[in-house]
Each structure stands twice: as C-alpha cells, then as structure tokens.
Amino acid sequence: MKPSVVAIAIIFGIILLGAVAGLFAGVRRKMNLEQWTVAGRGFGLIFVWLLMAGEIYTTFAFLGASGWAYSRGGPVLYALGYLTLAYVVSFFILPEIWEAGRRFTLHTEADFFLQRYGNKYLAALVAVVGVAFIVPYLQLQLTGLGIIVEVASFQAISRPVAMTIAFLIVAGFVLSGGIRSVAWVSVLKDSLMLIAAFSIGIGIPYHYFGGIGPMFKALAQTKAAHLTMPGSTANLGHAWYISSVLLSALGFYMWPHAFGSVFTARSGDTLRRNAVIMPLYGITLPLLLFVGYTAILVIPGLKSGDLSLLTLVRQTFPAWFLGVIGGAGALTAMVPAAILILTAATLFAKNFVRLLFRPAMKDDEVAKLAKVMVVVITGIALYFAVRSSTTLVALLLLAYAGIAQFFPGVVLGLFWKRVTMTGVFAGLVTGVGITAYLLLSKHDPFFGLNAGFVALSANFAVTVAASVLTPIQVSGFEERVEQVAAT
C-alpha cells in the first residue's frame, strides 16, 4: 500500500474514533442550556483537568511552537513561561469566578460582566469582542488541521477538503453532546498527544544526533545565537519576553471558552487543586521544541516553520506512525475548536441576541438559537481559513492581545469594590482600540514591548482612573458577598 494511503487511513480512523466518543457522550442526557454549556456544574478534578488540558494544548502547541523554535529560536521560550505562570494566576481568580457562577447561575463571561456591573450594553460588548477574537483562533485550528492532513497525505488531500470534513464532524458532536462531548474526546486526544510528544521529542533528536544533548551541542556550535533571545528575530528581546509572558499569563483564562469551563467544576476547591497539577502537563511543550530545534539542523530552509514538525516526522518514521502523529494533531485542532464554537455560539445567542433584542426568549430557545449559530460560526471560520493565508503565529498574537483586554474588568470586579461600570467600559474600549490600531498598523512589538501588553496597561490605567472619577456603584455580587463574609 502507498504510504500516503496508510497515513491517511490511520488519521481518519483516529478522527472517527474521536467522533464516536463525542457523539456517545451526549446520549441519554437531556440537553438543556445548563447541561449543554456547563455540564450541570458537576465535573470533578479529573474531568476539569481533561477539559482544560484539552482546550489549552491546541494545534498551536503542536505545530506553532515547534515552528517558532525552528524559525525564531529563543523567543519561543515565552510559550513555556506563560503556560507555567497562567496557572498561578488561575489559582487565585478561578475559584472566585466559580463562586459567582454558582450563586448567580452564570454560563458565560458576558453573564459575569452583566451580573457584576449591571449593564447590558457592556455585557453585549464583551460578547461581541469575545466572538470577534474567537474567530481567528478558530481559523488557526482549522489551518493547522488542514496542514496536518495535507502533509500526511503527501499532498493527496487538499487543505479545504480536509478542513471541511473535520469541521462537519466537530459541529456534529458539539450539537449532540455539548461540553460533555468535548471532555470525552479530550481523553483520546490527550493520551495520543502525550504518546506523540514523548516519542518524537526524544526519538527524533536520537535518530539524527544520538540524543538530545548532542543535538543541542551541535546547534550551540553552529547557530549559538538562535538559542537565546532575540534568536533569529530582530526585536524580540527580553523586554518583549517579559511583556508577552505577562500579557498571555494574565489573558489566559480571559478566553471566553476557558472562562466558561470554570463553571463546569463541582467546587471552587476542584479548581484550586487543578491549578496545582496543571503546570506539570506543560512538560510536553519542551519536547515539541526539541523537534523544532532538530529540524533547523536537519531540514533547513523550509518556507514556513509551521511545516517543520510534520515534515521531519514524515521523513523519519514509517507511514503508519505519521498517521498516528497526524491523528493526534488533528484531534488537538478539533477538541479546542469544538469548545470555541460552542462558546461563541452561546455568547452570541444568550448575550447578544437575547440581551439586546429578544429579552423574552426562554433558555430552551436560546439553546436552539445557539445550535443554529454553531453551524453559522463554523461556516464563517471555514470561509476565512480557506480564503486567507496568514500564519498560525500571526493569528494567535492577534487573538491573545484582544482577549486579554477583559482582564481588568474581571479581576477588579472580583477584588476591588471601587471599580465602576463606566470605568470598565472605558478601559475595555481603550484596550481593544489600541490593540487593533497597533496590530493593524504593524506596530507589534511597540518599542520592544508586546503591543497587547501596551494596550492592557492603558486599559488598566483608564479603568482605574475612570472608576475613581465616577460615583461609587454597588456591585452585582455585593449583597450575598457580605452574607458569606459575615458567616
């Protein structure tokens, strides 16, 4: 049999297995809005871990991180830095977000803003900004998936065809089982991802250099500058590293899908314990970096770094193994994509349409509209992915910088009584405005700093200043917070 046929058969076998697991998860449960979006708030430590690990290790970690190690070198370490620190932030804020979610039956990030600040236009703005930045992230997953199937099939299956098939499957299991499906498919995805990372992270340097140490020794002798910052870039130095790590670590759980997954937990304590163990899963990332670093020496001169991992796997291993790696990669695109689609659809239906135009809608009708939106949003992302040729890196930078602008509203909302709706509104508009301006006019990095971080700093300053200048506002959490504090 031709190697391309073997590889593709295995990839689709794995995708199919994932689809079956996803479809099965939703069977025998009535899918109301509460079940569909937050699984009845019943996930214990293991399921919360599966869900969060599932949505964090996306196709960016798989292709993009090794791609950065290949094309940029040292600056890629920022990904390792922020992944570690994001959980430190999460340890303190997630249990508080969960507590608010339990008391007021929140489903989405926009619900949180509505409850805390009591203004429907602010909540709708959060929903719109959230959906707007989810689309490029979704596009990133689609593009990654297209690359995987294209390379694994030796260019026999084109990207648009692969993307369309995979996303019909994703839309299918999101519709049938909601968030519960996603957690179940994560089981398969994460086991494969671990096998893939360890076998190629250790196997590839061993195959070409006899080990990880000799590989780095060879690299240090020939391309020493590539290994430290700014690596092979002109302006990604230490100031960029610090600002990017801070922006991403703070912005991490501001992703509407990550924020929403908080509500699936059974208790605040589950989230605290989850934060303790989450960093350990980050050990897979350096393994993928090893592959990118090996690729510089073995296959220099590729047009796009995003292709380096798979190209190297293809020329090192037999076809069936390429299929396993490709299947793992495809699932790392599909699982996060499923959560992104589900979140964007719920945000749009509940926090935009119902909030602004149809206040009389019942929860069941919201769920119905959200399911229609699943199809619409999948279609939009698919359209962008087929039409545009942006790199994975550019898409991620854009999306992160925008999403992190929710941070002041969330954190000050939890820990600072003096913050007001006007302050958060002004800060958010400032932050998103500066982000859009700096990124669209290609001013990233801005004087050596991550542009999103510059925008976030301005956002913080405006939020605080405008809050102090406006009259004190009673928090939507206030009354019951006092009750709890008094006991």
């Binding site: 370490l77 570690t84 303190f92 507590e99």
Partner: protein
Amino acid sequence: MTKPTTAALLLACIPFLAVCFSVPLWDRIDPMVLGLPFNLFWLMCWIPLTSACLWGAYRLHASRRPENTPGHGEGEPE
C-alpha cells in the same frame, strides 16, 4: 469571598520572579545542564517548582478551611 492570604500571594510571586522578571539572568546557553541549554533547563525546572509553590499555597488555604461555613462551596470536600 475569601481573600487570599499574604503568605499565599508571596508564594505565588516566586514563580513570577523566576520565570518572568529574571530573564536577563538566565537567558544563556552555558552552562549546559543534562544536555540542555541553560535557559531551557531553567524553565523546565520551574514547571515542577511552580506546582510545588501552588501546592504550598493550597496547604495554606486548606488549613484555614475550618473557619469557612460548609455549604458555600468554598471548602466543600468532594
């Protein structure tokens, strides 16, 4: 809402200092440890060390738990 204690926040500052702000001190190739460039080795060490810091913060939190009223979800055992 339970405000985090000062001790827990200090524990949380350690990884931020080690992984983020101190980058000029450890971003170099030599000495290579276990075959890894020093910057990569340093960051990999801080993966388990960060978990350890958070575990410490968790112990601190758990030791305050009896003061909370059960039934508010905060310290509910699973």
